[in-house]
Point group: C2
Chain length 396, copies 2
């Protein structure tokens, strides 16, 4: 596998445009495959699951196939009741009619303000104007408070043929995924069965998207959807679990999901730096993940990192308030590879040097709990004035 310049896999077409939902920015896009693709998805666990999210879940679960996805920003079509459901279905039907395919092959995603209805006349005109192109405008059209598109492409092999896997996503606030998150899309021209794809996605989301947090709030519209159309290896069999190719596919998939998840954390609302927490020596994988996410999710830790303050007591406090098994007298803690604690004893370190290193745009916090062998990581960002500014006036 190797990373390549962003590109659509074989047989995938996309487009994005300004349909009038936002003032000026692109706000509508689609992504289409030449043929029906194997598909899998993971979705928000928020009880108020939005209409498009629920519809896409239902659509994918029917046959684990999709041929097109339509996505808008600005209006989330969330908490919009029966009208919201009708609107999402209408989007699905409009796209299906335009492409001459079954509505059961069309996914729908929305992101933006909760509680407002989609302006359907604008959306209808927008869908009408979408084309089957190779441009990357959809990666812009799905953004809200994000500062830039988040995209990645890898090249790898299946059955000796070159395949491409491409992922893109949006998300900057209301980020604290429980089973899936915000909007993430991964497409490939490799050939893999829909149910296997689902198994892989569900598994890998747990250690990528589910391990990031910006503000502790789980959105109503979260979804990650993946499509594999097999066009790069048209004459070959689908991947099977015991094959060498499957191992590479899995590696590529994990790299794409982890890259996208980290990009969301790095671009968290108002963030000035990416924070990675690595927990080692945990009693279980679950413990390691919970501990890592607790540290990266603490407002106090985040504000201290913004202020370049080596206030490591807040890391201790964040760990201690979890139910994770901790050897309280054996803890190791390092920040940017400087040892702060060994066996719970404070080490001598160059405070000024460490403080300066907290000015970098990436921070690494390492914790060893000394209660087992499991590891886990989580990603987040610092808490800045800008986060407050963005969220005190989100709708203006």
């Amino acid at each position: 596998m190797k990373e390549i310049e962003f590109t659509w896999p074989k047989g995938f077409y996309a487009d994005g445009l300004h349909s009038g939902l936002r003032k000026k920015k692109l706000d509508l896009g689609w992504l289409c495959s030449q043929v029906p693709a194997s598909a899998a998805g993971v979705y928000t666990t928020n009880q108020f699951c939005a209409a498009p999210t629920a519809l896409t879940k239902q659509t994918i679960e029917q046959g684990h196939q999709l041929q097109a996805l339509v996505v808008n920003s600005a209006v989330a079509n969330s908490f919009t009741g029966a009208q919201g459901e009708v609107d999402a279905q209408t989007e699905q039907e409009l796209v299906a009619a335009k492409l001459g395919i079954s509505p059961k092959l069309v996914g729908v995603a929305s992101t933006g303000v909760i509680g407002e209805f989609l302006p359907m006349a604008k959306l209808k005109a927008g869908i009408n104007a979408l084309k089957l192109t190779a441009n990357h405008k959809i990666t812009e059209a799905i953004l809200t408070t994000d500062t830039h598109p988040k995209t990645i492409s890898f090249e790898f092999e299946q059955a000796g043929q070159k395949c491409v896997m491409t992922g893109f996503c949006k998300g900057s606030g209301m980020i604290h995924p429980k089973m899936a998150t915000m909007l993430g899309f991964v497409v490939t021209d490799a050939k893999v069965d829909g149910k296997l794809l689902q198994e892989l996605l569900s598994d890998q989301v747990a250690t990528s998207f589910n391990q990031i947090t910006v503000d502790g709030d789980t959105s109503t519209n979260d979804m990650v959807v993946t499509m594999a159309n097999g066009l790069a290896v048209a004459d070959s069999e689908s991947l099977t679990k015991d094959s060498q190719d499957y191992q590479e596919f899995k590696q590529v998939f994990q790299a794409v999901l982890e890259y996208l998840a980290k990009e969301i954390a790095r671009d968290g609302e108002g963030a000035s730096k990416l924070v990675e927490v690595l927990v080692k020596g945990a009693a279980s994988k679950r413990d390691a993940n919970v501990a890592a996410k607790a540290v990266v999710g603490s407002n106090l830790v985040k504000a201290a990192l913004f202020g370049q303050d080596v206030n490591w007591g807040r890391i201790i406090s964040a760990l201690g308030q979890t139910d994770v098994s901790i050897a309280v007298t054996k803890l190791d803690l390092a920040i940017n590879q400087v040892a702060i604690l060994k066996a719970s004893q404070k080490q001598a370190y160059d405070e000024e040097g460490l403080q300066a290193s907290l000015g970098q745009d990436q921070i690494l916090i390492e914790v060893d709990l000394h209660t087992g062998q499991a590891c886990g990581r989580a990603w987040g960002c610092d808490l800045t004035y800008k986060y407050v500014q963005i969220n005190a006036s989100y709708r203006s």
Copy 2:
């Protein structure tokens, strides 16, 4: 019962001074009873329970009696290992020796930065200089980022005698109590058995201190301690559960705890307003409390309230991400008594008027879940630039 000007109950003496732990502000205080008092406490559930908190818990659990409490700010004596334990015991012994009482009657509390040792020479000199006075300096000496002391006194009757109950507390950041919180002290000259006092405190903390949040972080030093010396009713029996006086005592106790809890939320770091969330129609008391705390704890809701933005979708999202039983199509929501949703339908309301009302220093959010009869409340504050400022430079 009636609220009176802040005063110490009969037989309680206190003092506060500057011992040099902070630059200029008062940083050390004590509170003493003329005779041993019944005592009860609740303590942090953070796994890294600080040395003074653990020692006070152990001391109170031995006999449910205390005669004195010594408290310092600036240094939390938390995550300080064996040395921290020795230091807390030394404080206990110094106070006991000075008062000529058993160390087993002395509670110790600390608040401030985690991971630093207490400067014992300064503390020793400070304890030496403390006097048995009627001043209120201890209510100042325990503060950290608080903007003002939080105090209250009530007068009530037991056995026909006038009694006083007085409470004070500190706390502004790292506020997300799980079983107890920050430092809270309630003293009375009523007569009540220590175990009954403990039962009452544990019960009432659940709906007062445990229902506030400033930033989702549970401190390592939280404790609420209460002492009843019985001196107002020296010749009477202790309160019994079936008496009329007990009902009044309970009412006063609850009023004091709730007042102090709300004062902490109102004075949350950087806060410009107090936010109260009232959840009705819940399937259980637990559900009501969890739902109320989820709304008041959401960074997104808090930032919107700071910005006077009626972004009610964030309230929905915060509710939906809990495991609380919700009738998703029947939800009622009101903000400052303006109906926003009825049966999950958006109501017509005066947006500008409501927006203006969010400029007040107190916000009320009411939710009816329509799944049962239980109610719960929670208190918090808005998220402001000042919160970030305070926590980006806490130690400077």
